[in-house]
Symmetry: C2
Subunit: 652 residues, 2 copies
Amino acid sequence: MKISWSAYDTFEANFRPLVVVELAKDTKDETKEWLTQKIVEKKKNGGAQLLVKPLVKDGEKIEESHNIYLVGGSHLRLLLGAETVGLVKECNDNTMRAFTYATRNAFKDFAEDNHDFLTMAECQYIIKHELENLRAKDEKMIPGYPQAKLYPGKSIMRRLMSNGILIQVFPLHDTEELKKLKHTWYGKMRLSYQPLDEIRCYFGETIALYFAFLEYFTFALIPMAVIGIPYYFFDWEDYDKYVMFAGFNLLWSAIILEVWKRCCAVMSYRWGTLLMKRQFEEPRPGFHGVLGINPVTGREEPVYSSFKRQLRIYLVSLPFVCLCLYLSLHVMMIYFELEHQAHLYHEENQSDLSSLILYVPSIIYAVVIEVLNRIYRYAAEFLTSWENHRLESSYQNHLVLKVLVFNFLNCFASLFYIAFVMFDMKLLRQSLAALLITSQILNQFVEAILPYWLQKRRNKRVKKKVKGLEIDTDLSLFEQVNLEKGMDTYLGTFDDYLELFLQFGYVSLFSCVYPLAAVFAVLNNVTEMYSDALKMCKIFKRPFSEPASNIGVWQLAFQAMTVISVVTNCVLIGMSPQVNALFPESKIELILIVVLAEHLVLAMKFLMAFAIPDKPRDIQTKLAKLEFESLEALKQQQMKLAAESLKEGMQK
Amino acid sequence: MKISWSAYDTFEANFRPLVVVELAKDTKDETKEWLTQKIVEKKKNGGAQLLVKPLVKDGEKIEESHNIYLVGGSHLRLLLGAETVGLVKECNDNTMRAFTYATRNAFKDFAEDNHDFLTMAECQYIIKHELENLRAKDEKMIPGYPQAKLYPGKSIMRRLMSNGILIQVFPLHDTEELKKLKHTWYGKMRLSYQPLDEIRCYFGETIALYFAFLEYFTFALIPMAVIGIPYYFFDWEDYDKYVMFAGFNLLWSAIILEVWKRCCAVMSYRWGTLLMKRQFEEPRPGFHGVLGINPVTGREEPVYSSFKRQLRIYLVSLPFVCLCLYLSLHVMMIYFELEHQAHLYHEENQSDLSSLILYVPSIIYAVVIEVLNRIYRYAAEFLTSWENHRLESSYQNHLVLKVLVFNFLNCFASLFYIAFVMFDMKLLRQSLAALLITSQILNQFVEAILPYWLQKRRNKRVKKKVKGLEIDTDLSLFEQVNLEKGMDTYLGTFDDYLELFLQFGYVSLFSCVYPLAAVFAVLNNVTEMYSDALKMCKIFKRPFSEPASNIGVWQLAFQAMTVISVVTNCVLIGMSPQVNALFPESKIELILIVVLAEHLVLAMKFLMAFAIPDKPRDIQTKLAKLEFESLEALKQQQMKLAAESLKEGMQK
């Protein structure tokens, strides 16, 4: 049997396509040949040892799909890959452990012939990881493209991507599973919990955690909404009653984020990501520089001086952000001018129309804010990319910081100005309502309705080629691939979290002035859940599953917002007529008491964050148990070694 | 050669005594026999495989020392022990790595015959670790003591200790090294840097870090002191100038602690403790409970319900602490009454004597505070011990919290009262001076002079038996052991840090009212360094070296103090006549501006703590390199396994 293992693997009978690799139409044949060879080549020869097949229609290769390849892997290969990426799975004794092939029989549901042990999303994640780690050995360039330079250790797929030879790599939908997921997720026409475990199985932990947070956050808003409703119905227009509401608000916002950490730990333990070891971070795709020696890895790779990056950040990005912030404040002042004009007009022409006109400036401002936010977002992405960060995490942190600061100011500056400079509570409420509702409507439109409509249009065009309109079980593989490759790419959870963050701001910063904000937020979140679900299942290409054990930098952002909301709410309480009435003579005493109360609340918040453990006790025990076991194993190993060494020492 | 390895080891020619084990005078012979057998027994039979010898005088066993044993270990045994405890050492390529016997030749200064590769302190730490981990196998009790129950896995030394059979275990001084250390540390009569590396070699990282922090802190105080001196000389009695000082104070205190973290990381990387893995924590010696199954280890050990502990904490400890706090406030009110009486007396009899009497209440109060602090300390230790914490770290945290809260209130409550209730800046300055100076003098006396005098007296008594007065090179081993076993035991760095913490409070909380505080603090710290050095070398038994990579909970305590000092300093600035003069009409405006400034400073502090990396870049790179290497090694191992598995899979 002299047949090579890789060749044998490639033509495995039950080849299951998992990932689609689309090359440029005009890719040279030698490049294709070289790439597919690399993919099937054995690990020890620097390949990925995966299975690859060109996309065929009814068994024949046809012109229009000669640049599309399907990648899969043998069952054994995927299990070994699961070990490489460090997947954590449940064992027979209900503990979570890092999967290793050697100990495979200790894992729940493992059987040599059970091909469902790894979910399809996990298999796709493994393949993505293996493809990205396909590295050049001694090739100096990509065959057929002398301008696409390679050096030892350079990721081949990234070079192909940056040279435009590789169009995209995306995981295939599982039509059966997707149908089931759609049904449990939004198929039933009644409110139900999010099927988080199913979402996690299909889309991975990052997206499941987003939906978990969205759901948790919505539930957390319900008490606020319930307390807020009577304020509307009984028309408690006097700001007195709002003091109570603000007090509740303070307590509430301090608690929910601490509790979320614990919920999150429970989930990510169940999903295995809490225990997953951080992989070594490779440079991000866009990173460039002159070839040098990386001090950490000792490998040759592009190096970019951190001093130059600092220069770009402090001399270009920072001034630009400040300029944008100034512009945003300028726009705000124009809004107040318009507002003033509208009031004058209303006073001159007392009519229904003129009272409607009162709302116009707010709505225009809300639209302008949304537009500015979106434009700024592109600028921020461009700038952060130009800063040339080596790691994706560092890129993300700088991007999030830029975007958050601007969005925060853009959305809330006018409210701060109205509340603490103009002291106009009526206008504050009106603006808050206008901003909140407009931004919610705009978001729903831009995020869900517009893409859905675009997708419908696009599908109609594709319809001529393939039968179905949507991903469906009765599509052939050829049709499915052609349908999916034209779909939009999901760009991650950034925008979704940002939207929630701003909403949280509207609800917590000033809600004691407008308690209905929580009601609108709850309503919005319920539809948001559905529209987000719809967009994940119907509009976008399936995203690669991405392990995550928490919501990362957003936890910090939300916590920062609660700190700010303590300050704003304390000030609003101090400004309320009810509290002012208690100190008819001495304003100073009032201010001092408000400041003291604010400090106490802040101190309590920090103490609480410190005192409430981030993980529930049972998770802590389970983690301690795992740590203990690994320490014991190490000790055993050392003792064996010690005994041997002592024996050797004696014999000498 | 049928001689057993352990027997061979025990009578090794060049036995170097490292640790002294003192048993009770009336210990039964069978117990001694059993214990020494346990210590020399092979690892695989549950022994420690160390060397042990009874203490002899001129080669003869004598009556008065028949209960004292010397423990050592063969060179090979200690090297293997270094691996077990996870010592990190420098390699030939200047990186720090966990020592393993297999890779021993990669380490700097390693040679098979170099017995100085491990310092004596490290050897002693290893022996302590091995002795503590000497566990019962199937013994049901300690032979000869049926009441001293054992169960599988129970630490034998701890049971011996809790039953009073074991008096103490302590490491021997190295007379040669100690002489050298004394010379470099305080032998030269000029100011010099602390010989931190030498201290670390001799006393271990915990103590070296304390001296490093003491030195760093003193240097950090010098700018404050230099700025503070002109206030005294030019008699800037008007509080106006203090505003500038307070501003500097705010900046300074925010920065020094962040910088310390970096310095600390550099040191602990050099000493190897930054990389040292945390060992699994065993229950603390005093922990008791009914035998049960530990959910983490699965072993039988005493279990105490956490609910009962919570009850003890919240129903007894918390009320007790509150009562003590109330008592402390009561004492404070008495002090103010005395102060008032003294003033009345002074006004009636204007004389030099009566102006001296003005200081009397402050001094009495300072003494009372010190006494209360010390009494409370014992109560806190008793209570925390009674709370029955399972882990030493949890015990320490609860103790530190109790002691800190009380000491903080006890020392600073009167100052807060004077500053923010009585608004009497003159009295504040006077009280601050009295408190600071009295507490410093008292501390120096109780900590150094008193023990030194007691030690001298004790030594005189010992003198009749042994020749020398101090540990000296010309003492015989027998004399040395007898001298050292009578010395006081060093109880850890707690009191020393607490003293620094309170001093930091005096300097940072109100120093803009009394800039000389920093000068006194610097002076005190310089003498403190000498007296602490003296007490480590002359008064106390040598303590076991204890690895540590930072100053632990004290970092947090000092940071909390800086936050409080931002608040107090802002308020003091707001109260200063100079600032008040800027807002002649509106006090409200002044208060609002002060509050705003305070919030800005606090926000800046948190941003700074967030932005300044805790480790310098080169340490980060080195750590990343180590992590990368271990990940690479893991990957290599997995790839080898994968190749084998695939081959197997094909053959099937």
